[in-house]
Structure formats: structure tokens, C-alpha cells
């Protein structure tokens, strides 16, 4: 993933918005960059072919409302990118909250909140199932991660299990019984260890056989007991490519209910497990880091959940106090997919006016919300 030129991006420019009909939790490109995948609330895994040039008759719908940030008047016309929806992958129950892609192959792994895990060919016109584990977990599978070599798939869930699966056939390789609900996980860049963050925002480290926990890293400042509600702040774990830094991100909660909290990402020196700088963004209404996409230019592109109606995409460098770029044109950002070329990314947000008490109107159908996908270009 090398940029063709050596300019390190410092900002993003909004190019285009694409309407979808579902609420999206997580979105990723295939390693070849031709298909965009999205884990959706309507129990589907959606797919779009990503085109660099427009189709003759593009069957696409653009979002009516343009984002607030206006392009400068002298800006060049937006690049002619398009998304063409492919048939979605179905057969899930509840939500599909997480997906992961193979580092080299066009395979996508996805899991639902009822415990099903599977692998599909991501780019074929019709979805092709490679394998499935209908009861990989008892209930909500919260996050998936694929090892750097692509041989192992890790999963964690509300059933307090962390599991490792063989990416080729879905065979369970390891199963760790945690004492708590496990929210997030990541392989170390060398592929030898798995780190996972729990309900109380504690991070544990285990070799990939999951036989034992070899150490703990404390991010429990991201957990809060608000009245009797446990608020788990830690939602994302990411390593720097050299494996020396662990970025533990989410939110420092200030209260339950509305779940107010300030986006926090703690930089840990991984070898020592010591916390270094904590990146803090905005205030108590800015919510969670829900995803982190590592850019080879040395920073993360991150969506912030915000409160209903607000949200942002920020660029953060590990070890820095706060972000160096922010785009606030999208509401309730959920996920960011960096295109393998390193010059584009797609962010999933939420439609405006997604919240409100009672029915939005007494007439007409009662509709669900949806996640527009915004395409951004990275600029120096």
C-alpha cells in the first residue's frame, strides 16, 4: 500500500455521497479495491462494486442533502467514482455488526448477533459461501479480526468467548473462556499474539493458541459504572505496523443513558504495556471512536459517533494530544474503509434526523434509518 507519490495526506476532501437503505456498522474494501463491503443492521452483508469511471447508465441514487462542508469554488469536478450494488450476502439473524477481509484474497468474513460466522467470496457476482459456523458463539459476535498472514480469524462475543478459526475451512483452532463480555480484538503485526478488550475496558494478551493470558494492559479508565449501567468505553484495538504501539480507542464515558462521553484513544507502549499519550477529541457529546483505519502515512482515519445528528471523521496520529484534521459533515459516523490505493476512503454515517421521540410524523410509513456512504479523497 504505497502511495504513488510521496506526499503524506493532511486532510480529506469530500467527493461524493451514496445513498444506502440500511444502517451500516462496519465497512471495508476488498484487498483488490474493487468491492466495498458493509455489515448492516438489517441482517445483511452488503456489497458494492467500486468503479473508477462512471457506468453508461449508472443505477445509483445520490443523497439529496449535500454535506455542510462546501468545496471551494475553484475546485475541480469530483472524480467520477461510482458504487454499483451487488447482491447482498444473506442468511444472518439480528444484526451483522462486524466483518473482516483477508489481507490478500477476496474473501470476507462476517458474523451476526445470533452467533453465526461465515466466509464468502467477496467479489463474485453472486455471493459464494466458503464455510459457515452457525453457532460459533452463543449470541452476539462483537468483532472479527484476521491475522496478518491471513491464516487465522479471531472472534469475540457477548458469550464471553474469544475464538480462533482457520480461515480456510472455519475449523475452530482455539477457544478462550473469558470472565466478561469481550468487545474488541486485534492480532499483533507478527501474528503471534491476540489482544482483546473486555466489558471493563481491560485488555488481555494471549498467544494465538489462547491457552493462557500472558499479560494485561489497563485501559479501565474507559469504563464507567453510571448508576447501575456499565458503560464499556473501549471499542477498538489497533497496532502500529511495527507492533510497538497499541492504540486503544473508544470513549471516556461521562454517563449512561444518552451515553455521553469524550472520544479517547490511549497510546500504549506495547512492549512495556505502559500508557503514553491519550488522544482526546472534543467533549462529552462527541462520543466514541468506533473504528480506526491505519493510513501508511502514519495516522489513523477515525469515525466518531457523536450524539444523534452530530459526528465527525478525524485524523489522529498516535501519541498526539488531539486530531490534526476533522470533517464534521456527516452525522454519527460508524466506520471508515480506506481504499487500498491509499488516496480514497469511504465513511459510513447516518442519515440526518435519525433520532426523535415518538413517530416523526403521524402520516406515512414509519421508516428505518440508513447510512449514507461518503467518499473522500485524501489530500496533502
Amino acid at each position: 500500500m504505497n502511495s504513488p507519490d510521496n506526499t503524506i495526506p493532511t486532510k480529506a476532501k469530500f467527493l461524493k455521497a451514496f445513498q444506502t437503505s440500511a444502517q451500516i456498522f462496519e465497512t471495508r474494501f476488498t484487498p483488490c479495491g474493487t468491492v466495498l463491503l458493509a455489515a448492516c443492521m438489517d441482517s445483511t452483508l452488503r456489497r458494492w462494486r467500486f468503479l473508477d469511471a462512471p457506468l453508461e447508465a449508472a443505477p445509483l441514487v445520490e443523497v439529496d442533502s449535500k454535506p455542510k462542508a462546501k468545496a471551494p469554488a475553484n475546485a475541480k469536478p469530483a472524480a467520477p467514482h461510482e458504487l454499483v450494488e451487488l447482491s447482498p450476502i444473506k442468511g444472518f439473524k439480528g444484526w451483522v455488526q462486524t466483518l473482516a477481509t483477508h489481507p490478500a484474497e477476496s474473501v470476507v468474513y462476517a458474523a451476526d448477533t445470533w452467533g453465526r460466522l461465515g466466509a464468502w467470496d467477496a467479489v463474485s457476482a453472486e455471493p459464494t459461501l466458503k464455510w459457515t459456523q452457525p453457532a460459533a458463539h452463543d449470541g452476539w459476535i462483537r468483532q472479527l479480526a484476521v491475522s496478518p498472514k491471513g491464516d487465522k480469524l479471531a472472534s469475540c462475543g457477548r458469550d464471553k468467548h474469544v475464538c480462533i478459526w482457520d480461515t480456510r475451512d472455519g475449523k475452530k483452532l482455539a477457544d478462550f473462556q473469558h470472565t466478561q463480555d469481550v468487545f474488541c480484538l486485534s492480532f499483533t503485526p507478527d501474528g503471534n499474539q491476540l489482544v482483546f478488550g473486555d466489558f471493563f475496558s481491560k485488555i488481555q494478551v494471549a498467544p494465538t493458541d489462547l491457552r493462557s493470558v500472558i499479560r494485561e494492559i489497563d485501559a479501565s479508565g474507559l469504563y464507567l459504572l453510571s448508576r447501575m449501567q456499565d458503560v464499556t468505553g473501549l471499542r477498538v484495538l489497533r497496532f502500529s505496523p511495527d507492533g510497538n504501539t497499541l492504540f486503544a480507542a473508544g470513549c471516556k464515558p461521562a454517563g449512561g443513558g444518552f451515553v455521553k462521553g469524550t472520544p479517547n484513544a490511549i497510546t500504549f507502549d506495547y512492549p512495556s504495556g505502559k500508557a503514553k499519550e491519550t488522544t482526546v477529541i472534543g467533549g462529552e457529546s462527541d462520543g466514541f471512536f468506533l473504528d480506526l483505519a491505519w493510513h501508511p502515512g502514519g495516522f489513523y482515519i477515525a469515525p466518531l459517533s457523536g450524539q444523534p445528528g452530530s459526528g465527525q471523521i478525524v485524523f489522529v496520529r498516535p501519541g498526539e494530544k488531539t486530531s490534526f484534521f476533522a470533517d464534521k459533515s456527516m452525522a454519527n459516523c460508524q466506520s471508515v474503509a480506506l481504499h487500498p490505493g491509499g488516496k480514497l476512503f469511504v465513511a459510513a454515517g447516518t442519515n440526518k434526523g435519525s433520532n426523535g421521540n415518538g413517530k416523526p410524523s403521524t402520516e406515512g410509513p414509519y421508516l428505518s434509518n440508513n447510512s449514507p456512504l461518503h467518499l473522500f479523497a485524501l489530500e496533502g
Binding site: K93, G94, D181, M228, Q229, G257, N332, N357, G358
Partner: protein, 424 residues
Amino acid sequence: MLCNPTEHQISRRRFLGTAAGVAVAGGLGGLFSAKAAEAMKANNKQVLFVWLDGGISQLESWDPKPDTLFGGPFRSIPTSVPGTHVSELMPACAKQMHHLCLVRSLCTKDNDHSSGVARIQRGDPKNRGVLYPFFGSSVAHLLGPMESNLPPYVVIKEGQGGFRADDAGFLGPAYGSLAFGEGKPPEDLLRNPLLTETEDEERNALRDVLNRRYASQRRPSLTEASTFAYDTARELMRRQDIFDTSKLPAKDLERYGRTDIGTHMLIARNMLESGVRFVKVANYGWDTHGDNFNSHASLVPKFDRAFASIVEDMAASGLLQNTLVIAMSEFGRTPRINGHAGRDHWANSWSLAMAGCGVRPGVVVGATDDTGVEIKDGKYDIGAVFHTWFKALGIDSEERQYKHKGQPLPLAHEDMTPIKEALA
């Protein structure tokens, strides 16, 4: 000479069958008549009112819509009543479903906390220009205190406790609630350490003597009210055990959960067993506009354990027969999931749970459609629910009325009637 405080038990335990609370002269003469005995029996009804402030999501509790557009991530599970399912977050309540009666078709009017909380708890009668009492105050007024002499309307909650007159509306402060904040007693409840219990009893016995002498020359009602207040005070002081959290048995705490709601529910059980007429357990923090699903995953199981345990215990001890149990919020939560994975306020179609006295067990009343947005069957506003509760307690709310400044006022919304399917 000073009398022993126990010598005038009878006069203290005034017959309270229809007495409108503390200010009404007791009809001692009727105490031993058959009719009065009957009334006494009818009058041992109690209420446990579990208030989940902020709005529990019906979809993550009593009315799950698994694997539908608005159904959320959770599965549903079967219960002890074949054909009835609840959210997987409620495994313990699922086992007690044969004691419970669910109403899944509440359709109320207020989406706003500030007005909704009061409207729901006051039964939202037609605007009469007077402030209606909370259900607890109504029951305190209509049924009076129990023989125990403990205050009739007690609230167990987090935060501050104290005397809350507002609850009583037009019934007046005497029917307000006594709140135990964090399960702790109100100010001045504990005996001053400078006094021994004997000394305290002696001076009270003298006060009784002085009062009886005073009352003998006047109409007795005011002195009786004072006697009642002091007796209640004595009873509360004597029964410190019922709210002393350090004395709750570990085994029970384990079952109820070592959480706010678990502890408070256990205190509630003690209070009901000790003879408090109406116990409200107020639990806060259910207003999950953001991250609703993780919030409910944390909150609901805590409620589930505590609620299922108390229902189970009360069923086993027989207390459930005479106790109306209610668990509800001021509204439910929107089917639509907002951009912060939250659910907002929703009064259009939501649920409550009941059990015990006068309630038909093991039934589900009403139904919502596949997405949980509209009510398919049996729409009920809170007025109908109030009628149902009164009926379950043996109070004919369609006949009986309050008297306020000489004006008759209905107990509950006069255009509504009890939910028949919910009544035993």
C-alpha cells in the same frame, strides 16, 4: 401512673378499613364485627411498584421482535408459559412467566419525561384542574396503612431520600411518600445515641398519657393523628432492620444481584413482609438514547434477576396472593434505531408487567404488529391500567370516588375501564 405502651395497642391500631388515612377518627366499635373482619381481610392488600425511570425498551424486554427491521441484535427465549417469549436478556423472568401478566399494547400520550413521568404515575385523568395523586398516594389514601403501623407509602431509590409531599397531589401531604435514598433512612430516623431505648419509650409513654388527658376533653381526631404519627415513627425506628443493607442475607443478595436494584428489591421484600402497604422501587438511568443495546445488555439482566427473585420469593411465601406487583416506565422506546444506536421515547406501543393480587397469571394482553410499531390488538391508555390496578386491589374505581373540597372526583379516567383480560 404510666401505662405500658403495649396496653393500648388497640387504640393505636385503629381500624383503617375505609378511614381516609391518618386524619379520620377510628371506628373502634366496629373492629370486631364480622363485616369489619371481612373488610380487614380485604384490606391486607399490598403493592410493589417497580419504576424503571427513563423508559425500558419493550423490544429488549417484554415484547421482543427478534430478527426484524427494528428488532435489534438480541434473540428471544421461551418462557414457563408455552408460546410466550421474552428477550434473551430476561432469562430469570422467563422462568417466572407463569406468575406474570404482560400488557403489550399500551398506547399513552406523552413522549416527554418531565410530563410523562407524572402523567403515567398519576393515571392521567381528564384535566380537572387539580393535581392527581401518584398511584402510591392513592393506595395510601384508599387503603390506609397496614396493621404494622409502618408508613403506607415508601419509596426506595438511589440519591436523596426524605418526605415527598408532591406525590400526593390533591390528597394532601399526609399521603406523600417517605423515600429511603440509597436504602438509607430519612433524617432524624435513628434514635439519638444520648437516649437508651427504654428512656425513649418512657418519655413516649408519658407523652401518650398527656395526650390522652388532652384528647379526653376535645374531639379525639387530631390527637389520634398525632398518636399515629408517633407510632409510625416508633415502628420505623424499631424496624431499622428492614432497611439496613448490612443485614441483608448474602444468599439472597447473590440471587437478587449485588446491584442497586437487587439490594433495593430485597429491602422492598423486607418492607412488604413487615407490613408496608405500598413499596415503590425507583430505578433510574433507563433513558437510553445512545448505545441502547449495550445499555440494555447491562441493565435488563440486573432488573431481571431482582424482579424474578422477588416474584419467586413472594410466590413461595404466599405474599404474592395479596400483593399487586407492577413493573413499568413512563413510556417505551422507539422501534427505530437512531444514529447513536439508541432508541428514543415511544408512547405508541409499549409494555408493562404485573403479577400477584387480582391479576390473571401467565397471560399476555394485547399485541403489537411484526415490527412493534403499531398495536394490533387491545390498545390501552394508562387510565385503563389504573382501573385495572384498582380493581385488582378490590377497589371499584368505576363506582368509588375521591372527595376533594366537597367535589367528587373519579379515581381514574372516567372514559376508561379495567383491562378485563388482565384480571383474575
